[in-house]
């Protein structure tokens, strides 16, 4: 997030795109509700009528995968209404002409046809967003999990820069990160092309710094992303894998390919707190300690590095992740004698400019938001105050890219996947909790009542849901949350694993899989 979570409360207009915020980020939704209570306007872009969409001033119920035409349409309205922030565009950005030329060539009728949203609504949303002093965009996986995910994000950035909604407090572009430490994992270089702090492996100076610190020679080319590894199937160049705290055998798309990729490994080790679907096929499983049994830090969605303090000793034979990694490393002939997690943090501060001022003794009680450049630095509540990381913000025009798998006569439905409130991801933890299982015991397929009528399907009937890659049995719930022609279900449940059906197609740059659109069909089960 370029903002802090609390800033959302003071924004005048909040545009939420591709996020079921109430279910997946309740603490952010709380700020949105507070903002709406004090008079802010809410725009929601979502194919589904999510709980937040019901509170929206404008709900743009787009066809899944048509974010770019919608955002381009909004920008065109902004130009036509003369609502662009010319001073900001002039001083802080570059390549504006390319964007402007593209926008002026747009055919608005085509945009209405692609998105399924009326021109009036697009225009209302654009004017609301552009006219306010402080507008903020919150987006989530509904933006990124498309084959055009990177372009979707670029389109949002174009919109924010065009209206100058980035440099100030209470205004910015906020990707909502899900897991407690997914931001921290990225910060620490758990990405194929960067060292900690987003420092490129291709930069010789950076590489040299890490080589000196670690006393090894380091590769200068980027590695593979997760789905490149789990979808390689029989061509898998990877022979051995060590998976920590992740369950790709349920969470990754196109599970058929994933199974094949894992079957082709020569060796698989998994560290997890429970025996997940992935751990079950591993050669070696390391029992990992839970958050309560270890010390360390979590970095949350607002870039806040927060201290985790050990409450109890690890139960049974479980060990902390740090312990597992250092023990393993020692066996592999590279001892890493860190006495504590704090000592690791000192090394992070030494090698990572954005974490340079972050030390354990400074983290109590509320942590620090990076970038934090030295011990005197108080952290950064919002980003891009005087300039962007690359200098000037660059406009890159983007254009519509249809989803990888269009619907057709055989597979007429658009299947969207997502999450529910009372289960978490693949349920490794939440499905072991009785109250959560009672509240959300099984996956439900949302279908519009009109479609259900066409197929003669009653509520809570078990149906067969299929795509070109596989099929599952799942119980149906009738709801107007989804539009006719769309289906929605969650991926928490191994017994109705929707990722058997999802597509393997990925965004070419970020390699993020297209989990939000695939063509599907439903059939009544014979009784």
């Amino acid at each position: 997030m370029t903002n802090s979570i609390n800033e959302i409360e003071h924004s005048q207009v909040i545009l939420v795109s591709g996020s079921n915020t109430v279910k997946t980020h309740p603490q952010v939704a709380r700020r949105i509700f507070d903002a709406v209570d004090s008079g802010a306007s809410l725009i929601v872009i979502d194919p589904r009528r999510s709980p937040l969409a019901r509170h929206a001033d404008v709900h743009l119920s787009i066809r899944s995968g048509s974010d770019i035409p919608l955002l381009n349409g909004m920008m065109r309205v902004i130009l036509d209404e003369n609502l662009a922030d010319d001073a900001f565009v002039e001083m802080r950005t570059e390549n504006y002409h390319a964007l402007r030329d593209m926008l002026y060539r747009l055919d608005m009728d085509e945009i209405v046809a692609l998105t399924g949203v009326s021109l009036d609504k697009i225009s209302r949303a654009a004017k609301l967003y552009a006219r306010a002093q402080n507008s903020v965009v919150c987006y989530c996986l509904g933006i990124t999990q498309h084959i055009c995910g990177t372009d979707n994000v670029q389109a949002i950035a174009n919109l924010a820069m065009l209206t100058g909604n980035v440099e100030k407090e209470n205004t910015g572009v906020d990707p909502l990160r899900g897991q407690n430490n997914v931001q921290g994992a990225c910060d620490m270089g758990a990405l194929p092309g960067v060292f900690p702090g987003y420092q490129s492996v291709a930069d010789p100076e950076v590489r040299h710094r890490f080589e000196r610190a670690w006393q090894v020679s380091l590769p200068k080319t980027a590695g593979l992303t997760v789905t490149e590894m789990t979808h390689a199937a029989s061509d898998n160049p990877i022979k051995g894998m060590f998976v920590m705290g992740e369950n790709p055998m349920l969470s990754d798309p196109a599970l058929g390919l994933v199974r094949e990729s894992f079957a082709n490994l020569e060796f698989l080790a998994v560290a997890d707190i429970f025996l997940s679907e992935t751990a079950a096929v591993a050669d070696v499983v390391f029992p990992a300690a839970t958050f309560a049994e270890k010390e360390g830090t979590f970095t949350n969605t607002e870039r806040r590095v927060q201290l985790v303090r050990q409450a109890i000793a690890p139960v049974g034979e479980s060990r902390s992740d740090l312990d597992i990694i250092t023990a393993l490393s020692e066996k592999l002939g590279y001892p890493m004698p860190y006495a504590s997690a704090a000592e690791v943090m000192e090394e992070i501060a030494l090698l990572t400019p954005i974490y340079a001022g972050i030390f354990y003794d400074r983290l109590a009680p509320w942590g620090l938001q990076w970038p934090c450049f030295d011990r005197e630095h108080g952290g950064t509540p919002f980003l891009h105050k005087y300039n962007f990381a690359r200098g000037k913000g660059r406009f890159v025009p983007t254009s519509h890219k249809p989803p990888s798998e269009p619907t057709d006569a055989e597979y007429p439905f658009v299947l969207i996947t997502g999450r529910s409130y009372h289960q978490y991801h693949t349920g490794t933890m939440s499905r072991k909790t009785p109250v959560f299982n009672r509240e959300c015991p099984e996956g439900l397929l949302e279908i519009h009542p009109l479609d259900a009528k066409t197929y003669n399907i009653r509520a809570r009937e078990m149906v067969r849901l299929s795509s070109r890659r596989g099929s599952i049995k799942v119980k149906v719930t009738l709801t107007k949350t989804v539009n006719p022609g769309s289906l929605f279900t969650t991926f928490h449940f191994a017994e109705a694993a929707v990722n058997e059906l999802t597509v393997a197609a990925r965004d070419p740059q970020a390699k993020c899989p297209e989990l939000k659109v695939c063509a599907a069909k439903i059939e009544k089960l014979e009784t």
């Binding site: 009680p365 409130y421 009785p434 109250v435």
Partner: protein, 348 residues
């Protein structure tokens, strides 16, 4: 019973607690290193900051009715009938520093757990308690106990009730145990002078006017009774409820629970009781999936009706004690004050 009035110098409070804690557990509001004030079991009094300036974020509910409680353990030795093992009981406990709302909540829980069905697990934790409460001269930001008639000072229910008079506490006794303390540790207390009594009376009077929020409880109760709450109120509020159950968990009088069996090994396990919340769909979902209280707005209605109407009907008091804890807890801003005032002011 005639109350005895005494004075205790603040300097001697910790020494008195030390005496009381010698053969009992001691629970008091303690400020921890994160700056949070929570009711905490105190092992050693030295180095502990007992915080009487802030409202404890948690109530005493979890000490009498734990969030998760093992009811019994069982084991089967290869085919034989299960052997049940009861759980040991706790010793006597001193609860110090509870507010009038906390006390009122305990008295309400007594009605639920001890009046008709006598719950042995609750009784075992409730027996031999000493309750030392403190009146609220300055109610906290979300407090409205005056309107729920559970504060800011209590007339009964406590063993000792303290009133802060600056450098000293005015001490009243409410039950025989309180008198025993005063008799046993007589040298800690001095008789209350006429001035002390006047000062305490004045404090109680002023406290009534120190509430920061106006909450129209009586009006809301009347409208609920006459069924004058428009459906819109329920639908509007419930559309923001996120199903987290936080309001029920933090509430000092929400006493619903569910029971689960937890396997420990192949031939042993334990039966546990955990807090539950009536705002959860699963609270009333039946086998087969039918739910008689299906929509979220009906579940929210059930909760607020229970707090403000059903309990008034059956126990002649609201089971909301006006502590305001759920107000800061709610993610959706669907708190009881908002509801009461929406109904009370007819604002919809």
């Amino acid at each position: 019973m005639k109350t005895i009035s005494k004075v205790l110098k603040k300097d001697h409070l910790k020494s008195l607690l030390r005496k009381l804690a010698k053969d009992r557990q001691l629970v008091a509001p303690v400020r921890n290193s994160y700056g949070d004030t929570l009711f905490t079991e105190i092992e050693a009094l030295d180095g502990v900051e007992i915080d009487l300036d802030n409202q404890a974020q948690s109530s005493l509910k979890s000490f009498l009715f734990p969030q998760q409680q093992v009811l019994f353990e069982y084991s089967t030795d290869q085919g034989s009938a299960p052997v049940y093992k009861a759980i040991d009981s706790d010793g006597p406990t001193v609860f110090f520093g509870l507010r009038s709302c906390d006390l009122a909540a305990i008295l309400y829980m007594d009605v639920i757990f001890l009046k008709e069905v006598k719950d042995p697990y609750y009784r075992q934790k409730r027996e031999n308690n000493i309750l030392i409460s403190i009146g609220c001269n300055e109610p906290f930001s979300n407090c409205f106990c005056r309107q729920t008639k559970s504060g800011p000072f209590m007339e009964y229910g406590f063993d000792l009730q303290l009133t802060d008079l600056g450098d000293r506490f005015f001490v009243e006794t409410g039950r025989a145990q309180g008198e025993e303390i005063i008799q046993q540790w007589a040298h800690f207390f001095s008789p209350a002078s006429k001035e002390d009594e006047k000062a305490q009376y004045q404090m109680r009077l002023e406290a009534q006017g120190n509430f920061k929020r106006q909450v129209l409880v009586d009006l809301a109760i009347r409208k609920l009774k006459d069924d004058l709450v428009p459906e819109e109120v329920w639908s509007k509020l419930s559309s923001r409820c996120q199903d987290c159950g936080g309001c029920a968990y933090i509430c000092p009088t929400c006493t619903c629970f569910t029971i689960n069996d937890r396997k420990i090994s192949t031939d042993s396990g334990e039966r546990i009781r955990t807090w539950d919340a009536c705002t959860f769909a699963g609270f009333t979902t039946m086998a087969g999936g039918h739910n008689p209280v299906d929509m979220k707005q009906n579940r929210m209605k059930r909760r607020f009706m229970h707090k403000l109407y059903y309990d008034v009907k059956s126990h002649n008091r609201t089971s909301c004690v006006g502590c305001g804890r759920c107000v800061d807890m709610c993610f959706g801003g669907v708190d009881i004050i908002k509801f009461i005032n929406m109904v009370g002011q007819g604002e919809i």
